[in-house]
């Protein structure tokens, strides 16, 4: 068991997500940075899809009430066991009574705590991910609170040796400037050419409204091509007949402050979407935080797929290297 001494903010149980329920209006939820989440699970020998803890900006303080194998991956929230610094991206052992805590976030935004066996919470619609808006999944459908007790599950398939590491060449470096690749499309035809170019040139600032639902950015105002609004869409030029929103799609309500819709976002609505963050770079947007800068770089679908393959190949190299260290 793991006891929550301090909850941090927005610390939730997450896994690969609840995929296949768009027709009910159910967003996928799941780990925002799947790269770090997956690597964390491998470092503790879990099968894919075991549930981990995702903590944002400010980590929780946790007391282990049994011995456990753990790993910490993702953004740099310097972890400490009993007040002593421990490494990230490495298999660690903790003893019953040990306290895990975190320093102020240095780089990135989200850290993943993987525990051998996974966090044991009920599966809802095929996933243990938390979706706080409707209060389903995860630990009682919500972020952790002081005094909660998490149980460790049985999703471990291999024993991984203490000290197993991810080579530094594979550890992502997070800075305060981010280039996030997007595929322009969806309803981008609604933007003037000038605005589309500006959208791609602007260095956007992440506002304090940036969470698992979406990230709101400040920067330039964008203009839509004037038109007589089609029937059913609503009167604002940024309105369309309500449609589905891909995870990672970027909408610009009223032409001000673009919003990137992420794992817990609304599944659809009536605002123009103009581009979608590539599946690979969703891992990176998850590691950006308030006040940092983001530029959206337009790529073709083929470039996005090449990048996806390169990303996959890195992941399998990491998996192999973990196995080789055993």
């Amino acid at each position: 068991m793991i006891k929550v001494l301090k909850p941090g903010i927005e610390a939730t149980v997450q896994d690969n997500g609840r995929i296949g329920y768009y027709e009910l209006g159910m967003p996928p939820s799941g780990a925002m940075d799947k790269f770090s989440y997956s690597v964390g699970n491998w470092l503790v020998g879990n099968q894919d899809g075991a549930a981990s803890l995702e903590a944002t900006y400010m980590g929780p303080a946790l007391e282990f009430q049994e011995d456990a194998t753990i790993a910490l991956t993702g953004g740099e929230l310097p972890p400490k066991v009993n007040g002593k610094s421990v490494s990230m991206w490495e298999t660690l052992k903790v003893k019953s009574g040990d306290i895990l805590s975190f320093d102020f976030v240095k780089n990135g935004a989200r850290i993943y705590l993987s525990v051998a066996g996974g966090i044991n919470v009920p599966e809802i619609m095929g996933s243990r991910s938390t979706y706080t808006l409707c209060g389903i999944g995860g630990f009682e459908g919500r972020s952790l609170k002081e005094g909660d007790t998490l149980h460790i599950g049985n999703d471990q398939q291999d024993d991984v040796k203490e000290g197993t590491k991810v080579s530094s060449e594979f550890v992502p470096q997070y800075t305060k400037q981010h280039e996030i690749r997007v595929v322009v499309g969806l309803c981008s035809y609604r933007l003037t050419e000038h605005s589309l170019q500006n959208f791609l040139k602007t260095e956007w600032t992440v506002t304090p409204e940036a969470n698992r639902v979406g990230y709101r950015f400040k920067g330039e105002k964008v203009e839509f091509i004037p038109r007589e609004q089609p029937f059913g869409a609503g009167s604002d030029p940024s309105n369309v007949v309500d449609l589905g929103y891909p995870v990672g799609s970027i909408q610009i309500p009223g032409g001000v402050e673009p919003i990137a819709l992420l794992n817990d976002a609304v599944t659809g609505g009536g605002y123009v979407t103009v581009a979608t963050i590539t599946s690979t770079d969703l891992n990176r947007i998850a590691q950006t935080k308030t006040n940092e800068k983001v530029k959206f770089e337009s790529v073709t679908l083929n470039q996005a797929l090449e990048e996806r393959n390169a990303h996959r190949s890195n992941l399998s190299k990491i998996k192999d290297s973990i196995q080789q260290q055993q």
């Binding site: 903010i9 409204e209 935080k289 308030t290």
Partner: protein, 80 residues
């Protein structure tokens, strides 16, 4: 004790010196605080986190304005 102790924000967000717009400021410059006293709140991701003093002393000055967007690690106030 000699020297100033800085109060640093553990997270980025919007800094507020009042619990709500209608209420009084948590503390004002020149006021005495004890460890655990709230000196402000930071709003980020629609969550509000209280920023507490870790020391006893007098709040000599605030280094950020209320409602200013601040960064993680930014100094909010100094306590002597």
């Amino acid at each position: 004790m000699a020297g100033n102790k800085q109060v640093v924000s553990p997270l980025p967000g919007v800094f507020y010196r009042k619990p709500s717009p209608e209420e009084e400021e948590f503390v004002t410059e020149g006021q005495k605080v004890k460890p655990g006293d709230v000196i402000g709140i930071v709003e980020v991701m629609k969550s509000f986190t209280e920023i507490k003093s870790e020391v006893e002393g007098i709040v000599s000055k605030f280094t950020v304005e209320s409602e200013e967007v601040i960064d993680v690690g930014q100094v909010i106030a100094e306590i002597e």
